[in-house]
Structure formats: structure tokens, C-alpha cells
Subunit: 226 residues, 2 copies
DNA sequence: GATCATAAGATTGTCGACAAAAATCTATCT
DNA sequence: AGATAGATTTTTGTCGACAATCTTATGATC
């Protein structure tokens, strides 16, 4: 039961098929921000009718990956300085809440799970080849506290934010060669998460995020072109 | 230019018309929780086709007012003890962030706006006739910090949560005669919001919410049936 | 009487086409 | 050349019908 990694049986509904094809294209940055998406063209290319495509697009607009300008069309979202600040400030608030809620629920099994996620991530970073996978695994690592919290609303909010972070990391990675995640920072994160000082964990989140934000924020002045 | 309260010109798109008719019915509690909604029946009753109705229903499912059970149908959501706890804990986190973000932006005009919202609410509560309006105005009062924060993601999260709070207040109001909002609590809220101590405001949010939650939480053991 | 298979019903997903609204383009006129 | 009016294109919303999937009800067999 080790490598039971067979393909997802094929999504049954066309709308989900479209989603699982469009989502990676967007969050990976292959469709660059500002890229317009024409319903008709896409429908023909994908060989589907407009109905399920429309729904899939609405899903993507809802999570914020696509922007819909009335009677102009939909395009891949931009991530500017303000967007990034909002993303990070909200994320701090959510992740702090997640740790407060999950703190008492950290069973040995749960902690083992966390360490496993971190280990997988470290391996991928060390390998250094697949940047996309590293991003996914970093997000998966941070999903831990939300899942463990058992707070469905909170988890929902996180799931909504996640694709946007994914997109940003991809853009950042393309623009400046370096892999987004640093091993070092994650080790500290892990240590706090496994420790006994909740306040230290909360403070770490605030510091870690602020630091990461300020680091990448300076790069915006160079590349931003609206 | 005082009573320029003419009707909203009629929503142009059918989907929005359906939303503006269904939403109040749900959040007011007129459609009680568990009530099933059949697409075909509704479509006939409203005199529209299924397409825009489907989209409207999806909107309501997205915000959480409706629950969609695959191949069983959609029904109005229940609000149990856990749901309420999630709603409140998330709300505290969001509203604290909102106050942090808006704290420096509190201009005299903004504060006047806040006081006006509180005044309107107080009047309605004192009149004591229209419970629904009191709920709406209470939510409008709390929207102030989100709007002022200029944090679009945060505002979006609040707007998503709002209808659920509205629904809960309505249910609470129907079950136990009393109006949800208490004047007293709002005065304290206002005083802190206009004051100079951000930490006091944040602490008040935590206390106020926890208190309101615990007060209403006890009532669940009596009425819950599911 | 219980179990399984079949049929009926309901829900959801999908399609193709049409209509309305806005934006864009074009051509004409001053 | 600039501006305005009309025509075309694009996007969006809407409709009615059909197919697929699942649930539930019905009935037959052991």
C-alpha cells in the first residue's frame, strides 16, 4: 500500500476536469497575469460547451485567480504590492487562529504527520529540480494547522487563499531564480509548532511572515509594470 | 434630496433578481433550516429557466446559506453549536485584524460615520418594532471597520460571513423573543472604537464576542434537534 | 419474510442556440 | 483631421431539452 499513486480515475464532471486543467496552468504562471481568456476559444480548444466552462471560470474568479471585468473579458490576476500585503496580513491572522485552535489537538500522530510533511519538503528543496512541487509541498506543510484545527470555516478560508499564494510563489520564482522556500525558516517553524509555547509560535508567525513579506516587497519596485 | 428612496431600478440580470428575492427569505428565517429547495419547482414559481436559478443557488451555497448534498438536493443550512463557535472565533480574528488595519485611518469623518450607524441602530432598537432592520443595522455597524480598513480581501471575507450571522440572529430572534442586539454593548464598542487604546479595543472584541457566544450557547441544549 | 434486481423519480450536468448589452471598429460627414 | 452615427464583434445572460448519475420505490424470486 506504499505507492498507490494511480491516476485520479478521471474526474467525472467536465467542470472539474476543466478546473484541474486550468488551475495548474494559472498558478504555475504559465498563463501570465493579464492574459485574457476567451470563453469561445477555450470552449473550442477544450472541446466542451460553454456551460461547464463558464462554471469553472466562475470558480476561478471566486477564489481570485481570475479577474472578471464586465463586458471586457476575464484575465489572470495581477499580484501587486497591495495584494501581497493583504494576502500576508490575512494569512497571519488566519494561521494564528489555526494554531490557537489546533494547539491542544497535537497528538503524537499529528506531530509525526507534520514532520513528514516537512521532511518531504526538505527533500524536494534539496533536490532543487522541481520548483512547482516545492511550492505545493510548502503549502501542504502550512495546511497542517488548518486541517488539524477542525475549524471548517477557517480551513475553507485557507483553501481559498492558497491558490493565490501558489500563484505568487510561482511568479516570484520565475522572476528571481531562487526557490521561494528556505529550509532554515521551516525548521524554526517546525520547532515552534512542536514546542510548548503557543505565544512563541504566534509571534514567530508574525515575524516570519513580516520578514518574508519585506524581503520580497523590495523586489516589486524593479519589476512592477502594471 | 432627503427621501430619495426610490426602488433600485430593478436588477437587470435575472440571477441577481433571484438572489435579492431568495437571500432575504433565507436570512430572515422565513425558509427554515433544513427546508429543501427544488430547482424545477422554484424555476416554475419564479417564472425563470434553470440556468440563472442554478447560478443564484450556487452563489448561496458558496456563502454557506445553502447546503448542497449531492444527488439529494439543496437545503437551508442549519446552525449548530459548532457552527456558531466557528462563526464567532473567525469573526473575532477578522474583526481584530480590521481594527488593526483601520486604526490609523480613523478620520473625523469616519468616526462621524460610525456614530451615525450606531445612532440609527439605537433608534431602531428603541422603536422595537422591526427586528429584521435592527439586525441589518447591527451588521452595518460592524461593517464599518472592514470598509475603513481598505483591505479588500478582509472585506470580502466579512461579506461572506455576514449573511450567516444574519441568519443566526434571525433564528435566535424567532426562538427567543428578545432582540439580538443590546444597546449597552454597542455603546462600549463605540467608545473603544473612538478611543486611543487599540489593545483595549482588541480585548473588548474578544470579551464581547465570547460573552455573546456563551450567552446564546446555553440556549442550544434546549432547542437543538438533529 | 428477506434479498436482490429492476424500474421510476429526482437531481445534476451538459449541450446548442438565441437574445441583450456593451465595447470596438468603420465609415461618413463637417 | 476630428467627431459622430451606425454596424460589427465580443461578452454575457438566458432558454429549453437531453443525457448521465444517483436515490428511492416497486416487485419478483428464493
Amino acid at each position: 500500500m506504499t505507492t498507490l499513486d494511480l491516476t485520479p480515475v478521471a474526474d467525472q464532471t467536465i467542470r472539474k476536469q476543466i478546473l484541474t486543467r486550468l488551475m495548474p496552468l494559472i498558478v504555475s504562471g504559465k498563463l501570465e497575469p493579464g492574459q485574457r481568456l476567451r470563453e469561445q476559444d477555450l470552449a473550442k480548444h477544450l472541446g466542451v460547451s460553454r456551460a461547464p466552462l463558464r462554471e469553472a471560470i466562475r470558480d476561478l474568479v471566486d477564489v481570485g485567480l481570475l479577474v472578471s471585468v464586465p463586458y471586457k473579458g476575464v484575465h489572470v490576476r495581477h499580484i501587486g504590492r497591495k495584494d501581497l500585503e493583504e494576502l500576508y496580513s490575512l494569512r497571519v491572522a488566519l494561521e494564528q487562529l489555526a494554531f490557537r485552535e489546533c494547539w491542544a489537538k497535537r497528538s503524537p500522530a499529528a506531530l509525526a504527520d507534520l514532520k513528514a510533511r516537512n521532511e518531504t519538503l526538505s527533500q524536494t528543496i534539496k533536490a532543487g529540480s522541481d520548483g512547482t512541487r516545492a511550492i505545493e509541498q510548502e503549502l501542504h506543510l502550512h495546511s497542517w494547522c488548518y486541517e488539524l484545527s477542525g475549524h471548517s470555516l477557517l480551513l475553507q478560508a485557507w483553501e481559498r487563499m492558497k491558490p493565490n499564494l501558489h500563484l505568487y510563489f510561482s511568479l516570484h520564482q520565475h522572476a528571481h531564480g531562487r526557490r521561494g522556500p528556505l529550509r532554515q525558516a521551516h525548521d524554526l517553524y517546525l520547532r515552534h509548532a512542536c514546542g510548548d509555547d503557543l505565544d512563541a509560535m504566534l509571534a514567530h508567525l508574525e515575524d516570519h511572515m513580516r520578514q518574508g513579506l519585506e524581503t520580497t516587497l523590495g523586489l516589486f519596485e524593479a519589476a512592477a509594470a502594471s
